[in-house]
């Protein structure tokens, strides 16, 4: 059956790699994000790589009024409807410390904005008895750290949301994959100090695609982050609170 992927935050390099992977499988892709011109070029690229349909569509996680437009466009496609969420924003923690009013924006970008889109899409997915949601969180959501705990908190909220959505969509033949990437070689991490074991966006996209195929629930990518985070989660709080990692 034909499938259409709504890709939120499609300008990011991870999303781009995922869109190309979906395109190569012959699926349709709706590329949603803020840079319309850039996404139009990506749409051309996806079509040339085999996408049945590829289109750029405006999306800003902070513009609730625009969400209905996305949902309507998805509804007009036949077949299975799926969505992949790559949005999120991570201003340096020091900027947030200086200006706490940045917090709602981070939470909207990384959690509540995309959650609202998914919430609106869920009934359609249920009606069609299938489809997949890919939610890209972060290992930062596994434990609050001094370096980025606002972003981490938003992603933790998103992960909990995804777990609930999984519980719901599973009943209707759908599926939800929660993805927790470690360090990925994107424009967000370019030139940041302290990066190690950095994965390419293509590698991450391939891992996600396989997880969708195999109906995995929660994946870390690259896989070894599962073990790194297992250790980090098990450090007792009385020690963790004094650490700087």
């Amino acid at each position: 059956m034909s499938e259409t992927w709504l890709i939120l935050g499609a300008t990011s390099s991870m999303a781009r790699a995922f869109a190309r992977r979906a395109a190569a499988s012959g699926a349709g892709v709706l590329l949603a994000g803020r840079d319309r011109d850039d996404l139009a070029v990506l749409a051309d690229d996806c079509r040339l790589r085999g996408a049945r349909m590829a289109e750029a569509i405006d999306f800003d996680a902070r513009e609730l009024a625009g969400f209905i437009h996305l949902i309507k466009r998805m509804a007009s496609e036949d077949g299975l409807l799926s969505a992949a969420v790559f949005v999120g924003s991570m201003p340096p923690q020091s900027e947030i410390d200086a200006d706490p009013s940045l917090i709602p924006g981070v939470v909207t970008d990384s959690f509540t904005g995309p959650a609202q889109v998914l919430q609106m899409l869920a009934p359609l997915m249920e009606a069609r008895r299938g489809g997949t949601v890919v939610g890209v969180g972060s290992v930062a959501g596994d434990r609050g750290r001094i370096g980025n705990y606002v972003y981490g908190a938003a992603k933790a909220g998103f992960a909990t949301y995804l777990s609930g959505l999984r519980n719901r969509l599973t009943r209707a033949g759908g599926h939800v994959v929660t993805v927790k990437p470690g360090f990925v070689d994107t424009s967000m991490t370019w030139g940041l100090p302290g990066m190690f074991l950095v994965a390419s966006p293509e590698k991450v996209a391939e891992d996600i695609w396989r997880a969708v195929d195999k109906k995995r629930n929660v994946i870390y990518t690259p896989f070894f982050w599962r073990y790194i985070m297992l250790i980090i989660r098990h450090i007792p709080e009385f020690i963790f609170k004094k650490m700087k990692i």
Binding site: L42, R49, S187, W190, L192
Partner: protein, 437 residues
């Protein structure tokens, strides 16, 4: 963060630069980076030497601006961003019956890099160089963005093909792809027992794709022995490409010591049966045999390596033989050595190809190897041949001047496109390409 300060190198890792690199993922970001003036661009830094280095300055890596924009299945014309890799274009289009008309020996080279070095492939004798299949390109010069085609701006176009990025930042190009039968290769491999036999087979070959591996350690009777590969595209099914592997660390120095290389070359030579054989392979295995091993340049250890590549006119074949004798006698060569027959095709003022034979040999970066390469360079000059900018890291400006007779015309065009000289790279400075003689 836009700029990353780092120390980086070309593929040979013998020369390094320290400076700032940006890697824009969107056109908007690139435009912003260039708003205060031009900055040199690079692709995947698969050039061996310093063509893609800018020590103490900035460079923009184009590899994330890599989208395919339009394709016409009726004509085979593909428009693509400059950062797209040749191997990805081949993988996407070969199943539909089209290939990039010219492909270098690594699929990681970008379209921008292939233009800026006017690269050649295993079909150079028939298809010519990369730039001969570029119908037009979008170029960001000092005076803004423009479309450049051989018709609209002949001189600027010819200065850009093989022009080492000195006319501007290449944004995208329209390429004429070449029709192919499918995405497998039918390859005939034959042993060549020595130099004369090798050359006569190269001259007589009627295959579309031809390449010779040469055992640069063999001396005496066996001098110039090797394996001739002749390939044609075909349709069919092949086993999937074997998984890529990576060289995780720098190899120790003895990894490529003379006895190891000789033993390897013996094995490699006798792998092909004495009567030859025909095999079917995926296109990637034929065109980009080394890409299966990621970071194979680490095999040469921390000090890196050099590739010497020259081309000499047909009549100068004996000079090339003398070079091979010097190489074989030195015992310094690595297993990577290639002999090809080139046709006359070239697209730019600084393009490498000329009708003749080209020899490429890798050497670990050692004093003795550098001294040998310097001798080989002098022999190339004497033979009226040329050194290849994509491989060179040791030549001097004076040698190069004689090899590229259109250098003055090139310099004049470049001065118009980048009057402030902002696009200069380490190679351009080392070889004094943009300064008067």
């Amino acid at each position: 963060m836009s700029w990353k300060t780092t120390t980086y190198s070309g593929w040979g890792r013998a020369l390094t630069a320290t400076g700032e690199i940006a890697r824009p993922e969107r056109r908007r970001t690139l435009d912003a980076l260039l708003s205060d003036g031009l900055i040199p661009a690079c692709g995947m830094r698969r050039s061996y030497g310093d063509a893609a280095l800018n020590d103490g300055g900035r460079i923009i890596e184009m590899s994330r601006l890599d989208r395919m924009i339009a394709f016409d299945p009726a004509t085979g014309i593909l428009e693509v961003e400059a950062g797209a890799r040749i191997g990805e274009i081949a993988a996407a289009f070969a199943p539909r019956g089209w290939l990039p008309a010219v492909m270098p020996g690594t699929g990681f080279a970008t379209v921008g890099g292939c233009i800026a070095q006017d690269v050649h492939g295993k079909n150079h004798h028939l298809a010519g160089s990369f730039g001969q299949h570029v119908l037009s390109l979008r170029l960001r010069t000092a005076s803004g963005e423009r479309t450049v085609s051989p018709k609209s701006d002949k001189a600027l176009f010819r200065a850009t093909m093989g022009g080492l990025g000195q006319t501007g930042v290449i944004l995208s190009a329209r390429l004429q792809l070449l029709a192919c039968k499918g995405d497998v290769m039918v390859v005939t491999e034959r042993r060549m027992s020595g130099w004369e036999e090798f050359l006569s087979h190269l001259d007589g070959s009627t295959a579309t794709y031809t390449v010779g591996w040469i055992d640069a350690t063999a001396t005496g009777e066996g001098l110039g022995r090797g394996i001739l590969e002749e390939g044609e595209t075909g349709a069919g099914l092949t086993p999937r490409r074997v998984k890529t592997r990576a060289i995780p660390i720098n190899a120790p120095n003895f990894a490529l010591a003379a006895p190891v290389v000789r033993a390897f070359n013996n094995l490699y030579y006798s792998r092909v049966p004495a009567r030859g054989r025909t095999v079917v392979k995926p296109i990637g295995d034929f065109f980009f045999p080394l890409d299966k091993i990621h970071d194979w340049n680490r095999l040469y250890g921390k000090r890196g390596f050099h590739q010497f590549q020259c081309v000499v006119p047909i009549a100068e074949a004996p000079a090339l033989r003398s070079m091979l004798e010097a190489i074989a006698a030195s015992g310094l060569a690595s297993p990577l050595a290639v002999l090809k027959r080139m046709g006359p095709g070239r697209a730019g003022m600084l393009s490498f190809p000329m009708e003749g034979y080209t020899l490429a040999v890798d050497f670990p970066n050692r004093d003795a190897a550098r001294a040998l390469i310097s001798r080989l360079e002098a022999m190339t000059v004497a033979a009226g041949g040329r050194l290849y900018f994509a491989k060179d890291s040791l030549a001097r400006g004076a040698d190069v001047r004689a090899m590229y007779p259109e250098l003055d015309d090139w310099r004049a065009e470049v001065a118009k496109a980048d009057p402030e000289g902002r696009l200069q790279t380490d190679m351009v400075r080392r070889l004094k390409l943009r300064s008067e003689a």
